[in-house]
């Protein structure tokens, strides 16, 4: 039986999730990473994606997160996400809205760097949305 550690998912408006879990897969800016107990301390930014929480053998929760960062300590994982929606609650409209926003960001970008960043965000978002659609959400 694997040991558990504390996990907190926080959005600016409220504490979304809090409890002891066995494993969390986090969509990091430079690639997904799984966090188990006694992980080396680190801080990573997030890309838009799906966070998977394994609270015990059978339970598995998926949460769509966007914008923010994760702070890992040996006994604690804190994810601060600007937006956190359980995958079950996502509908097509929200996803479309997200994509539209990202597209506007690309158009509004003033210089090369911002544009590139916005484009990357958009591409990541499209990927996630496609994956979610394939899984039957939205």
């Amino acid at each position: 039986m694997a040991e558990s550690f504390r996990f907190e998912l926080v959005s600016p408006e409220r504490l979304v999730m809090s409890g002891d879990v066995r494993q969390v897969d986090v969509p990091g800016a430079e690639g997904d990473f799984g966090v188990l107990v006694n992980h080396a301390p680190m801080i990573s930014t997030l890309r838009p994606g799906v966070l998977v929480v394994f609270s015990d053998e059978r339970q598995r929760q998926e949460v769509f997160v966007r914008g923010g960062f994760a702070e890992v300590r040996p006994d604690l994982l804190t994810v601060l996400a600007e937006q956190a929606v359980p995958v079950e609650e996502i509908d097509a409209e929200t996803l479309n809205q997200e994509i539209q926003n990202a597209e506007e960001d690309v158009e509004d970008a003033k210089d090369h760097d911002t544009r590139e960043k916005a484009e990357r965000q958009l591409a990541q978002l499209r990927e996630v949305v496609a994956a979610l659609r394939a899984a039957g959400h939205g």
């Binding site: 959005s11 408006e13 409220r14 504490l15 800016a29 430079e30 990573s44 930014t45 960062f69």
Partner: protein, 297 residues
């Protein structure tokens, strides 16, 4: 001397006013609970953000080319005052006290020969400031249609502020809002958000083995994370100010309406006394008239 009918009318009108103020007080109390809960649940995020930023800032202290959002533009010429007030009145000195603080601040800066720009959030602040600082107000944001302040509202404001900062329209930004201490006490507060005021990590803690800051691995590197977090922190700070303000507004309104209800009650008592006196005086007068009429016969 007012006639009996006049007095009756006045009593009725004060009673009607009292009913309104009483209702407003109860509505404010209900809204206050909600606003307080919202402020409460936003706290963990802001606290975490502060912690991580403090850690990052400590590890980057003194480094070359730190982001301008943290160290400023190197100048101190143009100040942006973000004045957050309510969109509605009837809440005692709530709006005026925020505006007064902002105005004093502006006066001080102007006396020092600095340039001042003002961004109003909430209509009441704009109404009061435009009398003296009309040409300095660059924009007004109204949250009138917003029932419950959400993070998206704060983000919108933050984006506007950051846009201005990128255009180098100002060097220092300060938010004015009322900090909620209790129902009867709201403290007008000025908080500088650009350059960011990052709490120092306590020295002793840093050296202790539990000191997390030095041990972290960063992905991507510190600099990039900081660059992404700082703009987000602006939004968080503004969000916090807005939530505190919302709670303060309802608290101020509640106590203002409580006072108004009590005053109305006192007034009704006074008027009723006068009314009864007048009525009795009239009866006495009529009796005297009848008796002296009877005696004369």
């Amino acid at each position: 001397m007012a006639s009996l009918k006049d007095l009756r009318n006045r009593i009725a009108s004060v009673k009607a006013t009292q009913k309104i103020t009483k209702a407003m007080q109860m509505v404010a109390a209900a809204k206050l609970r909600r606003a307080q809960a919202a402020a409460e649940s936003a706290r963990p995020y802001a606290e975490r953000m502060d912690e991580v930023l403090a850690g990052l800032a400590a590890s980057l202290r003194g480094a070359e080319g730190a982001p301008p959002l943290m160290v400023g533009t190197g100048k101190d010429e143009v100040h942006l005052l973000i004045v957050a007030t309510a969109d509605r009145g009837l809440c005692g000195a709530f709006n005026s006290s925020i505006v007064r603080l902002a105005r004093e601040h502006a006066q001080r800066l102007l006396a020092d020969g600095k340039e001042v720009k003002i961004l109003c959030v909430g209509r009441k602040g704009f109404d009061q400031l435009r009398r003296t600082h009309r040409e300095r107000i660059i924009d007004t944001i109204s949250l009138r249609d917003v029932k419950q302040v959400g993070f998206s509202n704060a983000k919108e404001i933050a984006e506007k502020v950051l846009g201005l900062f990128e255009e180098e329209a100002f060097d220092v930004a300060t938010v004015f809002y009322a900090r909620f201490r209790s129902v009867v006490s709201q403290i007008p507060t000025a908080q500088q958000i650009i350059p960011a005021q990052i709490p120092d990590v306590v020295e002793g803690e840093e050296q202790a083995s539990s000191g997390p800051t030095a041990l972290y691995e960063y992905e991507p590197d510190e600099y990039e994370i900081l660059e992404e977090l700082l703009p987000r922190n602006i939004a968080v700070q503004i969000f916090r100010a807005l939530l505190e303000n919302a709670a303060s507004e309802q608290g101020a309104r509640m106590s203002a309406m409580d006072n108004a209800t009590r005053n109305a009650g006192e007034m009704i008592d006074k008027l009723t006394l006068t009314y009864n006196r007048t009525r009795q005086a009239q009866i006495t007068k009529e009796l005297i008239e009848i008796i002296s009429g009877a005696e004369a016969l």
